[in-house]
């Protein structure tokens, strides 16, 4: 008997992995559970916002902005969590070795898992659409809100996911992987809680611009609340775009270092 003559390259390797991961995620129920909890969170927020009869035009626009920003933050967080669990979780469940023993390249394996993790962001975006429609139709920003939520959310989700995947590849403990990823996200979100005086000045604004999360959220606010043109604040999307591209490239490079026990063989 001869072994299977697999091609020297397996271009479909990542799609096989992605297909399996997507089925496990969605047909297995985990992603649906996360989506349900996420939609419950949005429902509570939107109910609180919309049930105020004194909401004026601007406040309504701000409500749309807040909903979009929350969808981006939580959607990106969900994608990050899935990516953080992708490799280190399999190590802990002892299912990684069987996959690593196949001829699929490490890079294809990581790419397939990233595709699956990204799907939860897409679902989060789809779920927020009716909420945005409800809040935004009276103030004529529905399509802008849906579109910019997708653009900004995709950039942030891609970058955060790639970062979480790098951590997952490197560490052998799933708890450590999730903790590091969540801490980094919290650190990136923290500047949004600073008073506006801290956000002004060259240091504050630089930090705000360099931080892809705050920069992305700022862009959404300017577009939706302040009615800016799409291109007016495009420079605020530079750091999210650079972060996404750089982290994805780094993940692709470091994927080949994926081993059974993290970056270091133990």
């Amino acid at each position: 008997m001869t072994a299977i003559a697999a091609p020297a390259r397996s271009p479909a390797g990542w799609s096989v992995v992605a297909g399996r991961e997507l089925r496990d995620l969605w047909a297995g129920g985990r992603a649906l559970t996360l989506s349900t909890v996420y939609s419950l969170f949005l429902s509570i927020v939107v109910y609180l916002l919309a049930s105020s009869t004194n909401l004026n035009f601007l406040e309504q626009r701000e409500s749309v902005t807040l909903t979009a920003q929350l969808a981006i933050a939580v959607g990106a967080l969900l994608a990050m969590i899935l990516a953080a669990d992708a490799i280190s979780g399999e190590r802990e469940r002892s299912t990684l070795e069987a996959t690593l023993l196949s001829p699929v390249s490490r890079r294809a394996l990581v790419l397939g898992k990233l595709v699956a993790a990204f799907s939860i962001w897409v679902a989060a975006w789809v779920i927020v659409i009716p909420y945005i429609w409800f809040l935004g139709r009276g103030v004529d920003i529905v399509w802008e809100a849906i579109a910019c939520t997708f653009v900004v959310g995709t950039l942030l989700a891609a970058g955060l996911m790639a970062f979480a995947m790098l951590v997952s590849i490197a560490v052998d403990s799933n708890r450590a992987s999730l903790s590091v990823s969540l801490l980094v996200l919290l650190a990136l979100l923290a500047p949004t809680q600073l008073p506006s005086s801290a956000q002004s000045g060259w240091a504050g604004e630089s930090l705000y611009r360099l931080n892809p999360v705050t920069a992305g959220e700022h862009y959404v606010g300017k577009l939706l609340t302040n009615g800016h043109d799409w291109t007016q604040d495009l420079d605020w999307l530079v750091s999210p775009a650079i972060a996404a591209v750089a982290l994805l490239v780094l993940t692709a490079v470091m994927a080949s270092s994926l081993t059974l026990t993290g970056w270091r063989e133990r």
Partner: protein
């Protein structure tokens, strides 16, 4: 009536004869700001366009001309932040040639209901002492409208998570079967 009094009255009459026109001092450049209309009736949330023409009636070019849009409420107690109405309120039009003019279109979104006045000011950055030239005010009447139905939020807030929960349960049951 004395001749002097009559001359003063005639001068004043001449000054008001040019309706909808703002003027600068007579020496050198002489900027005037005109608007295409004086009244706009619109609904809340609608974006309206106001066109201004900035003319230089003087015999010298008006260098470094800056135009700026302002909005104020004609009703006491109504808060107005012009930045909410338009994010593009300052135009650096440069030099306006003697006898020349600059057309500018301003887009503002009526974000609050009520009665408001909109006007455009022209300033030469090198001649601030001469003072700004204000164009005539445009009255904007914004009719209120309902932009949100609070009663409609509950069905939405319940239906989406409930629907997802049902799908999630059905998928899990089918998986276990």
């Amino acid at each position: 009536m004395s001749r002097r009094s009559l001359a003063g009255l005639m001068a004043m009459a001449a000054a008001f004869a040019t309706a909808g026109v703002g003027t600068a001092g007579a020496a050198g450049p002489e900027l005037q700001v005109e608007v295409d209309r004086t009244l706009v009736r619109t609904d809340l949330g609608t974006t309206v366009s106001v066109r201004t023409v900035t003319r230089n009636a003087g015999d010298l070019a008006a260098a470094d001309t800056i135009l700026h849009l302002n909005i104020l409420s004609l009703e006491r107690g109504t808060y107005v932040d012009p930045e909410d109405w338009s994010s593009d309120r300052t135009r650096y039009v440069g030099s306006v040639a003697a006898g020349g003019s600059v057309d500018t279109t301003w887009r503002v979104q009526a974000v609050t209901s009520g009665r408001f006045a909109l006007y455009v000011t022209a300033v030469q950055s090198g001649k601030l002492a001469a003072g700004p030239v204000n164009g005539p005010a445009v009255e904007i009447d914004v009719a209120g409208r309902r932009t949100l139905d609070p009663d409609g939020v509950l069905p939405l807030a319940v239906a989406i998570p409930a629907g997802l929960a049902l799908v999630s349960t059905a998928v899990r049951r089918r998986r276990r079967a």
